[in-house]
Subunit: 289 residues, 2 copies
């Protein structure tokens, strides 16, 4: 290893993503300390599964770590960035795993020194929450978006990227705005649909629903189990792009409604939709969650 | 086995469901002939995997089989029922695996003798099509809806139910109307949402989408790979109930839109939706498809 390798990692927010990152780095051969900053319950669980090696305060994390990994909901990441401002030492890389990037990147630029921060977003997850569900292979073969500021690239970004490669993630670089547009469609819209579908069925109070369903309904309602706190943050920090995506979805739904109503030909719509569904599936990529 | 056990099965439509039924019965110990009526290509594939033992015409199937299993799209099942009318022998049980039930049950009542027919719908499937994707365990632990006419119960229904139990299916009995209402919400609405979502993303032509997505988008677009022919039949035969369900979904989507727009509290909606998503999941039931 090069002499400037990260020696101490601090994970702020020891939930599913933070704890999975700690486990993944340990398995990939990271030999340094893995400090954890989180609630007492989360720290207990993360210690128990070996995701972190020691629980510390944010102050101690900032004083000792040369890689600080913020794995909290977006609104909490913003608070942590403000708190880190006066604490951060030269040469430390701060990165995050927040679900939207523009607001976070902007706040980091305001509170942290130039070159200290690179935004990130692992496109990985599952419906279970917390350190108990952590998984060292969570990032494997999944996209991991990085949104470094081209005007102030962090000196230690390459080192961080080499660790992402070692835990199996597929690094994708783009701007924060490009990321937020993409996830409005690929992540936020699917979440809204899954929740709206489950809520629609819940409202009917029809006991037959629990007796009569197939695997498709399980697929389509899995996201509806997501954490509302996490999503409140996401909606608040990307609402304009999300609402624009939702309007386009409503238009496609309207086309289907109209076609079904007049008993028209659904094949063109189905074929076009299937073309997209196929485009994101490659034989070695399809994994069930 | 009782002397009145089914001796000869005929499967009409040797696609995924028909071929899976043939394989499942064979594995469960059905020792009689398994005749197949389908297109030459489908029959070839079904013979190759052992789902059927011989290819015949519908006339020969009607002359020889005492259990006729219609596993075609809804519109084709209606045609087959009309054709079977003059061919059917006393004591034969005709059943189907069509995705809607009211139109099929009504057509069977019109063309077949009293007590010859029981409608059915296995709540099982996957995105692959055809006999090549057939799976003897497709029905295992899945609901299998039966909608027999209480005024004319088929004498051999219990015998059929005992075979369904042997292939691991969970038999659920209800009226055709109850079935069609339930599947409008639990199957047809999810299909429409998945297709509308995939179509919305396809229309953007944004190359970032294929680089930036997580497992949730795979879940939410899996149904978009479904066969348009199958779905044209389903929409045509259940459109009133489907459009009513879609209107309710649009209302829930509107509530989410409004809440996001005014940065309101999403927790009540998320919690209510999650309650439904949890209600259809039991530890031993959740299977990934």
């Amino acid at each position: 290893m090069a002499s400037d390798d990260f020696r101490t990692l601090a994970i702020v927010g020891a939930g599913l993503i933070g704890s999975s990152f700690g486990l993944a780095l340990k398995e990939a051969g990271f030999g340094g300390e893995r400090l954890g900053v989180s609630s007492p319950a989360a720290l207990d669980a993360a210690m128990r599964i070996g995701a972190i090696s020691r629980a510390v305060s944010l102050e101690e994390a900032a004083a000792r770590a040369d890689l600080i990994y913020l794995a909290q909901p977006v609104a909490r990441i913003l608070e942590t960035l403000r708190a880190l401002g006066p604490l951060i030492r030269p040469g430390t890389l701060v990165t995050d795993a927040g679900s939207t990037k523009a607001v976070i990147v902007q706040t980091a630029a305001e509170y942290l020194p130039r070159g200290a921060f690179a935004g990130g977003h692992p496109m990985a997850g599952k419906e279970q929450r917390g350190a108990e569900a952590a998984d060292a292979s969570l990032f494997r073969r999944r996209p991991y978006v990085l949104t470094p500021d081209p005007a102030a690239p962090p000196p230690r970004l390459e080192e961080f990227k080499s660790w992402l490669a070692r835990i199996g993630a597929r690094v994708v670089e783009m701007t924060a705005a490009e990321h937020d547009t993409a996830v409005a469609f690929t992540s936020h819209l699917p979440q809204i649909l899954s929740t709206a579908l489950a809520e629609t069925l819940q409202r009917q109070k029809n006991p037959d629903f629990e007796r009569v369903f197939g695997p498709g309904l399980l697929d389509m309602t899995r996201l509806a189990l997501s954490d509302p706190d996490l999503w409140a943050s996401i909606f608040a920090s990307n609402s304009a792009k999300i609402l624009a995506a939702l309007d386009l979805l409503l238009s496609a739904l309207g086309d289907l409604h109209h076609t079904i109503q007049r008993n028209g030909d659904i094949a063109p719509l189905f074929q076009s939709a299937a073309a997209f569904a196929s485009s994101i599936r490659k034989p070695d990529d399809e994994t069930t969650s």
